[in-house]
C-alpha cells in the first residue's frame, strides 16, 4: 500500500496539479483573448470600468450583498467556500510537503483554525447537497454533476480531518491517506473541465458580460448574408404596407375627447 501512497504523493499529485494549473490557465487566458477580440470588434469603446470593478469585487468579497437574500443559505455557502479555498492552501501539513519538494513555503494557519475551516467545508458541502435535494427550484436546476460535486469535494476534507485529529491504526491511516490523495488528484483533474472552473473565471464574469453587450456594427446584415437571406430579412417576409395610416380628424378628436373627459 505504501507504494501506492508514494505514487499518489509524488508523481500523481504533481501530474494532476500541473494539469489543473495548465487547464485553468488555458481557459483564463482564452477568456481574456476572447474579451479582447470582442472589444476590438465593437466600435463602441465606452466601458464602465468602475461599475465592472465594483460588481466584481462585490461578489469576490461578499460583505453586504450576499446576506440580503436567503441569508442562511448564503452564510453556509460563504463558509463552505472559505474552508474550501483556505483550508488546503494554508494547512501546516500541506505547506511542509511543499517545503520538502520545492524548497519554499508560506505561512500556515494555526491548527485550530484550520480544523474549523475544514469542518466548515465538510458541513457546508453536506448542507449544500441537502439543499439541492430538498429545495424544489434548486432540484429543478440540478444536473447530475451538481449533486456529485459537494459529495466528492467533501471526501478529501473528511479524510484529512480524520487523519489529523484521530489516533488511527496504521492500516486505517494508510487507507485514509490513499483515499485522500486519490480523490484530491481526481478533483484537480476535473476542475478545469467542469463548473468548478468558476474558481478562476468568476473575476472575469462582469467584464465578459459588459463586453458581450457591445455589438459589432453590421452583424445583422452579415448574418443574413451567411444564411442567404439578404433579400428577405424577417421583417419584410410578408410586407403589409397597406395598413391605413391614422387620419387627421381622428387624431384631433382623440385629443379633444381626452380634454373633455378631463374637464368634466
Amino acid at each position: 500500500m505504501q507504494a501506492w501512497i508514494d505514487f499518489g504523493e509524488g508523481p500523481l499529485f504533481r501530474f494532476s496539479f500541473v494539469l489543473m494549473l495548465l487547464g485553468l490557465g488555458r481557459i483564463f487566458v482564452l477568456t481574456l483573448v476572447n474579451v479582447a477580440e470582442a472589444y476590438r470588434r465593437s466600435p463602441d469603446k465606452i466601458l464602465n470600468y468602475r461599475e465592472i470593478r465594483h460588481k466584481t469585487i462585490a461578489w469576490l468579497i461578499p460583505t453586504s450583498r450576499l446576506w440580503r437574500k436567503r441569508p442562511v443559505y448564503s452564510g453556509i455557502s460563504f463558509l463552505f467556500h472559505l474552508g474550501l479555498i483556505l483550508g488546503p492552501l494554508f494547512l501546516t501539513a500541506h505547506v511542509n510537503l511543499w517545503k520538502l519538494s520545492v524548497g519554499f513555503a508560506w505561512f500556515t494557519l494555526p491548527q485550530g483554525l484550520a480544523n474549523l475551516l475544514t469542518l466548515a467545508a465538510i458541513i457546508g458541502a453536506l448542507a449544500l447537497f441537502l439543499m439541492r435535494v430538498f429545495y424544489s427550484p434548486a432540484r429543478a436546476l440540478s444536473r447530475r454533476q451538481d449533486y456529485a460535486w459537494p459529495l466528492l469535494l467533501a471526501i478529501p476534507f473528511l479524510t484529512g480531518y480524520l487523519m489529523v485529529n484521530n489516533t488511527l491504526t496504521a492500516g486505517a491511516y494508510q487507507a485514509m491517506m490513499l483515499v485522500h490523495l486519490y480523490t484530491a488528484a481526481f478533483i484537480m483533474l476535473l476542475i478545469p473541465f467542469t463548473k468548478i472552473a468558476h474558481c478562476v473565471l468568476v473575476p472575469l464574469s462582469q467584464l465578459v458580460t459588459a463586453v458581450s453587450w457591445k455589438f459589432p456594427a453590421g452583424t445583422g446584415a452579415r448574418v443574413l448574408e451567411t444564411l442567404g437571406l439578404s433579400e428577405r430579412p424577417t421583417w419584410v417576409d410578408k410586407p403589409r404596407l397597406d395598413i391605413a395610416p391614422v387620419k387627421l380628424p381622428d387624431l384631433i378628436k382623440v385629443q379633444s375627447q381626452k380634454k373633455e373627459a378631463k374637464a368634466s
Partner: protein
C-alpha cells in the same frame, strides 16, 4: 418579497391561448403570443444555422462560452425574478430559462457536446425544444434584475436577447413587434405608430394652442430647425397617447429657451430591435443618425421612454460612429440639469397628493437615471414616497422586453408578470405613480385597471407641466 400564489382561475386566465386551433396546428407553435405564418419545416436545422451565423458575426460567443463554464446552478436567482415570484414554477427560474439556450450551445457548439453527440444517442436540438424556448423567452421581460443576484455574473437578459434574435431569424417573433417594425423600416409613414407627417404637425399645433391658452405664454414645438441643439425623439406613441407628457416636455424647453426640434424626416424613438433583432436595432439607429445629420443637431434627446433611451444611449455609439457619435441624453437628465441650474421653476403647492416613482428598468438598471427624477419630484411634490425595493433594484412593471406591445398576452402581464409591481404600488397608497417610460405607462395602466388599484399613472413631465411657473415678461 412574498406574493400570494396564483389561483387556478388566474392560472387559467393568464396562460390561456387565444389562437384558433387551425392556426396552432398550421404553425405548430403553442405559444400565447401571435406569430406570423413561417416556414415550419426543419425548424431545428434552421435554428442551428441561424445560431451559427450569429455566433460567427457577433460577440455573443464570449458570453456563452463563459456562462456554460461558470454556471453553477446555485438557484440564488429565484429570489429576484418577478415572474418566478408569481408562478413558483421551476421553469421560470432565470437560470433554468437560460439553460434552454445554453444547453443548445453546449450540445452543438462545444467539443464536449459534439463528443456526446457522437458517443450517445442524444439527437440534439428538437422541435419540442424550440417550442419551449419560444414560450420561455417571451415570458421573461428582459428586465435584468436577476443579473444583480447571480454570484457567477451570468446575465440572463443577454441570453433572452440572443435567444429571441435567433428565433426571429427563423420567423418566430411576436407579430405585434414585427408589424410595427415593418412600418417603421419600410412603411410609408416610417414610424411604428404609422403617424403621417401632416397628422403629426396638426397635432403639435393643436397642443401648442392649448398650452398657450392654459399657461398664457407661447409654448411652441419647433419643427425641422436646422442647427438646433437637440433632436427630440420620444416614443412615437406619445404623440397619440401622452399629450400631457409632450406638453410638459415643450414647457420645459419654453422655460429654458434651449433650441430643440422635432424632425419631420424621422421622429420615432421606439426601437424594438433591442427586444428581438440586432439588425432592426441597427437600422433604426441609422435612421436617427440620418435625421440628426440632415438637421445638423448637436445632441440626440430621447423622450420619456426607457427602451428608446437605452437603445440609443448604449448602441448609438456602436452603430453610428463610435467615439465620434453624437451624445445621447434623456429628457429626464436634461430637465434635472436645467432645474438644478435654476432655469425651471416649479410651484410646490400644485401637486399635493401622494406621489411615488417607478424606475423603468432600462434606464435605472445601469445606474444611469436613478436620482435625477427623484430630486426633481421631491422638490415640488410635498408628499413623495418610495416603493420598496426601488432604484436600481426596482421590480419591472411586467411589460418589459416588448411584451407590453403584445396585446393578446395582457392577462399574462397583469396577472403574472406585473403581480409584484401591483403589490408594490398598492403598498405605497400613492395617488400618482410617476413612470417616465411609454412602455411602463401602458403596462401600469392596464395593471391598475385589471387589479383594481386606486391610482393614476403619469409621466414626470405631466406633473411638471402642472407645476411649472413662467415669468410672464420673459
Amino acid at each position: 418579497m412574498k406574493l400570494t400564489s396564483l389561483t387556478p382561475d388566474e392560472q387559467h386566465k393568464a396562460f390561456a391561448n387565444s389562437k384558433k386551433t387551425e392556426v396552432l396546428h398550421r404553425q405548430n407553435l403553442p405559444v400565447s403570443y401571435h406569430v406570423e405564418d413561417h416556414d415550419v419545416q426543419d425548424r431545428p436545422r434552421r435554428f442551428l444555422e441561424a445560431f451559427a451565423a450569429i455566433l460567427k458575426h457577433s460577440n455573443y460567443r464570449v458570453a456563452l462560452e463563459h456562462y456554460v463554464r461558470v454556471s453553477a446552478k446555485c438557484s440564488r436567482c429565484t429570489t429576484h425574478c418577478q415572474v418566478y415570484l408569481a408562478t413558483s414554477d421551476p421553469r421560470d427560474v432565470p437560470c433554468n430559462r437560460s439553460e434552454l439556450l445554453l444547453s443548445v450551445y453546449r450540445r452543438h457548439f462545444t467539443v464536449s457536446g459534439l463528443l456526446r453527440g457522437r458517443l450517445t444517442a442524444d439527437a440534439g436540438l428538437t422541435d419540442e425544444h424550440i417550442k419551449r424556448m419560444a414560450e420561455a423567452f417571451y415570458t421573461c421581460t428582459a428586465c435584468r434584475r436577476c443579473h444583480f443576484e447571480c454570484p457567477l455574473g451570468v446575465d440572463h437578459a443577454l441570453i433572452t436577447h440572443l435567444a429571441r434574435y435567433i428565433l426571429s431569424e427563423i420567423g418566430i417573433s411576436p407579430r405585434a413587434l414585427v408589424v410595427s417594425v415593418r412600418e417603421q423600416l419600410i412603411g410609408a409613414s416610417g414610424n411604428t405608430s404609422a403617424i403621417p407627417v401632416p397628422a403629426l404637425l396638426d397635432n403639435l399645433e393643436f397642443l401648442s394652442e392649448d398650452m398657450k391658452e392654459e399657461k398664457g405664454v407661447p409654448i411652441p414645438f419647433p419643427i425641422d430647425q436646422e442647427g438646433a441643439e437637440f433632436l427630440f425623439l420620444p416614443a412615437v406613441s406619445d404623440f397619440l397617447m401622452e399629450a400631457d407628457t409632450l406638453m410638459g416636455n415643450a414647457a420645459v424647453f419654453a422655460a429654458t429657451g434651449d433650441r430643440w426640434t422635432v424632425g419631420t424626416g424621422y421622429f420615432d424613438g421606439i426601437n424594438y430591435g433591442l427586444f428581438y433583432n440586432d439588425q432592426v436595432l441597427e437600422k433604426v439607429l441609422l435612421k436617427i443618425k440620418a435625421e440628426a445629420e440632415r438637421l445638423k443637431v448637436k445632441k440626440i434627446l430621447i423622450g420619456e421612454c426607457g427602451h428608446a433611451s437605452r437603445s440609443a444611449k448604449f448602441f448609438y455609439p456602436t452603430f453610428c460612429g463610435g467615439k465620434a457619435a453624437l451624445p445621447v441624453i434623456n429628457i429626464l437628465e436634461y430637465t434635472w440639469q436645467r432645474w438644478k441650474e435654476g432655469r425651471i421653476k416649479l410651484d410646490p403647492n400644485i401637486v399635493t397628493d401622494k406621489v411615488t416613482y417607478h424606475d423603468p428598468c432600462n434606464i435605472s438598471r445601469p445606474g444611469w437615471i436613478v436620482e435625477q427624477p427623484r430630486e426633481v419630484l421631491k422638490a415640488f411634490c410635498q408628499n413623495y414616497v418610495e416603493m420598496t425595493p426601488n432604484r436600481r433594484d426596482n421590480i419591472c412593471c411586467g411589460g418589459g422586453g416588448g411584451t407590453v406591445s403584445i396585446d393578446e398576452i395582457r392577462p399574462y402581464r397583469t396577472i403574472v408578470a406585473g403581480r409584484a409591481k401591483a403589490e408594490q404600488i398598492r403598498a405605497t397608497g400613492a395617488k400618482y405613480v410617476v413612470a417616465p417610460c411609454a412602455n411602463c405607462k401602458k403596462q401600469l395602466r392596464e395593471l391598475v385597471e385589471d387589479n383594481n388599484l386606486n391610482c393614476e399613472i403619469v409621466g414626470l413631465h405631466d406633473l411638471i407641466y402642472k407645476a411649472i411657473i413662467f415669468d410672464k415678461q420673459g
